[in-house]
Symmetry: C2
Subunit: 376 residues, 2 copies
Amino acid sequence: MKNIVVLGSTGSIGRQTLDIVRAFPDELRVVGLSAWSNRDLLMQQAKEFWPQMVCCESLGEDLPHGCRPVHDLTEMVNDPRVDLVMLAVVGAVGLLPALETLRAGKALALANKEPVVMAGELLTTTAAKHHAPILPVDSEPSAIWQCLHGEDAAKSVRRIIITASGGAFRNSPLSKLAAMTPEEALKHPTWTMGKKITIDSATLMNKAFEVIESHWLFNMPWDRIDAVIHPQSVIHSVVEFEDGSLKAQMGPPDMRFPIQHALFYPRRLPNPNLQTLDLLKVGSLTFEALDPNRYPCFTLGLETAKKGGTYPAVLNAANEEAVSLFLKKEIGFLDIQKFVTLAVERHAPSKTSGLEDILEADAWARRTVRQAVKGA
Amino acid sequence: MKNIVVLGSTGSIGRQTLDIVRAFPDELRVVGLSAWSNRDLLMQQAKEFWPQMVCCESLGEDLPHGCRPVHDLTEMVNDPRVDLVMLAVVGAVGLLPALETLRAGKALALANKEPVVMAGELLTTTAAKHHAPILPVDSEPSAIWQCLHGEDAAKSVRRIIITASGGAFRNSPLSKLAAMTPEEALKHPTWTMGKKITIDSATLMNKAFEVIESHWLFNMPWDRIDAVIHPQSVIHSVVEFEDGSLKAQMGPPDMRFPIQHALFYPRRLPNPNLQTLDLLKVGSLTFEALDPNRYPCFTLGLETAKKGGTYPAVLNAANEEAVSLFLKKEIGFLDIQKFVTLAVERHAPSKTSGLEDILEADAWARRTVRQAVKGA
């Protein structure tokens, strides 16, 4: 029996994680749930899974018996009963609980990629120091991880090839991108996901983030990570080995597969609720080069990440802020790239890049984008 | 430094094995070479690699200094210097050296699939008894093996999916198959291979053999091995795991990749002579159901193998004989299936299926096919 907490349990990944728990009542026990603001769903979840701890901004008095309100995620992840933390929150808010989980030496199932983007080095050195495993949940890093099972990741890998669906606007005329609405950008061709990541998929910032995530999680140099458009989202990523052999991990576009892999690794248990992939129905798998003119955020994301220091934190925070403003219709689709570029260009990097510097750069970038939008 | 012998060094796999040896002079040393009848090429190879032992039907007096003629493959594989035997002969003649290699507790790199077809149980139990690894070289079993690295093969695998190019006649009208010549059948769409295996690819008997090989090498029940037509020969096979995740091994259609993997496993060394796969150039990967009307040998092969006992030996021997007669233009393309069926139907299985029974069934099947062809 593995005791897990789900941080961000009312979001897309959180709900799908609980779906896996439902399928394996003898394997997984939920000891903690947290949500940002969806109190009603959190209460429903608490009544179904009966965790010992619940955390939410505004908790009422009607918690189930034995279910204790916790005001701090730090307290929750440090509870001695906890074996694994599923980090399924959205954005930079996941950084502190991620660090706390690793410092406690516990397994971190990482669906929340923004902390790795902003503080990849800090997270991976903390994980190494405390012998705490980081288990990728995002489908592409999970694919790479699965392809590396049983291989010598340090010596045998020549290249990682991350696949990208191309998002909502893969086939839209470039001239129409400026006028695209949030509703249009949220129509992802293959995956059903949360809003933030779906917009990041339309800009392909999400793919830059996955390259950054792979750089840190698999200790892979930048020039040995490629991205390729694969519209069917069946091959979730590919590893090319030094001897020229390649391995690809495949599956239906359903996040419950990588969630389950992170929860049970190294075991692979049958889950009758999940559909199998029928290669005959798939028919054809195609690959296209990634067009930098269509996806300037991809280049912007990578170039900024390579600068290192506090730049990646600025990249992530400016992007979070810009995506949020786009979803509120305060800026246009192409303004996302514009305002992230502005923040990156104006950033005066700090000499150190410890946690304090990262958090400060994060706050500065958000302010900078908000003020620039107001002034625009 | 690994000391290897190459049995069948003048054939397609043998020559490609020596190509790998050429690329790694500090890693591999050839201590023995054997060939069936191509004495001239064997002498050339002996002069280049200077092995301690050479075996051929008709050896002359001009062996290089230090190079000893050996009259028996058994003697060669038992030489204490030998670490690994590359079995690259064609057909049932590989069975005895395969068994001898395993009995000596040495690694058997297995390109020659017929011994596994005719005596899969005997080979795998011998390997287990003597703790001798069988390293698959055939591209599809190699792909499965690579997908299983680091996985719990006994508990985690739901299904193996073997890919097939479909051979020379995938798109030919069924009405024209009867008149197809050896020249036409030898035009394989994606792989350059020896004659026997290229004909087996046109009938798809080769794919039945790979299912049989996978059944034995990976201890996989018959009903959990599927075959699918994949005309591009880029995905060499797929493993579907119990949790619904799939892994595929990919690479250009070049046997030197799986040969090298078997020679160096678990290491993956860069070989500048091998081309890398460019997914963007590949463009599209497709999958089609295998049509049993086009490929009756596939069904025949599997049904016969499942009967067990001495039936698989009859299947293999009758097929070897029929393919040989087809190549000599003594029978037509569709007669291959006809004469294999005849041998299988006439076979009176022996009660036991030890080595003697297998060899006897093999000889009986060859005689039966030859006599039936003469009488036809």
